[in-house]
Amino acid sequence: MSRLFVFDDEVEQSSAAGRARPFQSTIKNQKSAIDPIVTRKPAIGNSVLPASRLAIRPAPEMVSSGIPALDTLTGGLPRGCLTEICGPASSGRTTVLLAALAAATRRGEFCAVVDASDALDPQSVAAAGVQLDRLLWVRCGGNPPRRQGGTEGNFLEVTPKDRNEPWKTNQAKHRLDQVLRATDLLLESGGFGLIILDLADVPPQAARRIPLTTWFRFRRAVENKPTILLSIEQQPIAGSCSSLLLQLSVPNSQFSEEKPSSRPAHTQLLTGFEINTELIRSRLERKPVRGITFATKTAWAG
């Protein structure tokens, strides 16, 4: 029998052992010998491996998000991956953001928040327990600084170019541009344990303008690094680039009109609210979609 494949030895042995077997079983053996994806140990050591086993990616390290209930759902936040947290207004996204910052700064890591809407509240940050020395805040938007204008290469001009460009209609695009460029620079600089893109107030139609190639570039930039890249937005926009996607919501029953409060307003106090969290996608461990609910409390609730 001519030698065709490296598995021929095994075929020979099996055919020698069972020469009396029917012709079909012999054919079946030969077919299985030819099939390279068959799940059996190769005869000659490990010199030939199927392509699916060539690159075994280690599972990313998971770190606490600062909220124990969230950690039981997802296992924590993965390092070297992009995580998306989506939800409508008042769904608890910023609460989760600050909890993650507090946990990261407690671990001694440096964090950065690229704030597209300049919406971060310093009092809330301090109340959440974030160590302010370790937090870099990039406040996007506002008036652009002086830029090189006038004739090409003449940097002495102090007036910004495009003075007649309408500011409002391009405000969202300008902010997004700043957010993406700042994120690029921070990822390139390295050394940060957590980088957060706060797109919570960016309208979905504007956020969807961010091309997928940008998200892919961000994902590649954090791969194999100890940095957690976290994006807060209203709707998922990173597609398959995110390794973890969480959807937050608040049960409307807490403040619904079906339960009008008879107590006067000055006796009421906002002590917090409940947040529903649903695990939409996780590339890290295949789990069925499920959710948890956890409560937040305000800084003055005690």
Partner: protein
Amino acid sequence: MPFACIYVPNFPVAAVLRAEPELKARAVAILEGKLPLEKILAVNEKAARMGIASGMIKAQAELCAELALRSRSPMQESAAHAALLDCAQSFSPCVEDTASDTVLLDLAGMESLFGSLPKISHAISSRAAALGLEVNVAAASNPDVALLAARGFSGVTVIPAGRETEMLGSLPVEVLFADRLTGEEKEASDRLLETLDRWGIRNLRALASLPEVALSERLGQEGLRLRQLARGTAPRTLVPVEEPLVFEEAIELEYPIVLLEPLAFLLNHLLEQLCARLAARALAMQALLLTLELDSLNQQSKINNQQSSSESAIENRQSKICSRVQKFSRTLRLPLPLLDAKIFLKLLQLDLQAHPPGAPIVKIHLAVESARPRSAQGGLFLPPTPEPEKLELTLARIAGMVGENKVGALEILDTLHPEGFRMRRFMAETAKKNEQGKPHTVEEQSAVTALRRFRPPLRVHVTLENGQPVHLVCQKKDVQGRVLWRAGPWRFSGDWWEREPWSRDEWDIALQSSALQNVGTIALYRLVHDLLGGGWFVEGRYD
């Protein structure tokens, strides 16, 4: 005891060539004096071969097309002299500042550090070349012998003890009078030189062989001193100098610069010189001060043009002010002492792009505040931290995009004002230092409800019922609708002793949005009633 002398021949030319290395291949002459009586002060070898000599007037020199003429620059000479001192002090702590072009070093004990005398001399020459100076270096057991040898012989010379008279003998007597003297001292030295010339004494060997008594009868103590110098037996101790550590470099431009690229080229050259000088002293840069002198004539013409359109007293005063030199300064203060010319250049470029000078530049001056370099020991198990050099560049780039006061760390002020915070510089090292004294606690807190602020706050129109808000109307469509739940009001006030006091009532409300895209959704907001101004604002949203 060994001594070394570093001498820079043709010092005015050398100072200019240090600032403009591209002129080394050309014939260069240095002018001194005021127009129209400018004369050649010094020339380099190429210019001398072309027939250009000291004392020529400018018009004569300009006939030679290949000659590069430069005015004498005290600033460049000062920088070159400082570089010379830095070079010397990197080899010995005892340095005498003999002249602007000459320094003497005491090398006692240095041989065990740097090697033999020839090795030290060659190292000095190499170090000076790295600082942009072509020098003569001479080593001898007597400081005056080393000085004469450095002035008389080019390159590196080592005179063994006991052979001073023999090796100095071939030098001309003029080398004894190479100091730049003025007034009566110069006249006296000229007379001595003339006398020696009449006697036929042309070199030091002849001078050294003159009888001592006869020489003292004719030339006095000065003659005896010259004889001792020629024989290499003049006793002297060095007078070491303690120079203040001033690291400055400057360059005056022949024509004004308007583009960033040539400015960056010149800044790079100056920064490299400063970094080399700092490295020679084992120091680093803590702060960098850039001062640019601007072309005041251009400013003057701009003001004059404005005057022609409107004759106002204010503009007349401005024109008088602008006739003086305009200076533009920028200070870069670094969080840590660094020593990388490329990073400084990039930071300066980013800063100048964000803050352009506004007029052509005629002079550049860089000064450095020095400090000991940082010594940081990384740990194997510590969390990652941003590299200071990369972080500084990243922050400068981001600040160029969003504004300087829009990136940094938070500092909460001691006030009840809701926006009582300020941005300060983000420094990775500060956080590390603050952490060293505190024990690491691993306690976790429950999730704290966060507020997202609207900057500026959204002005709303509120419908009240029994003094409580029931409906909001706002330009931002998703922040208007019916109030389902409310808590408050909570009264806050402060700064009543300041110019801008504030007083407000705060409400926490649950608002059912009436916007088309999200009808019925409920969100929590902080509603504020400004008691002093009377307006209603939505300050933020709980999220």
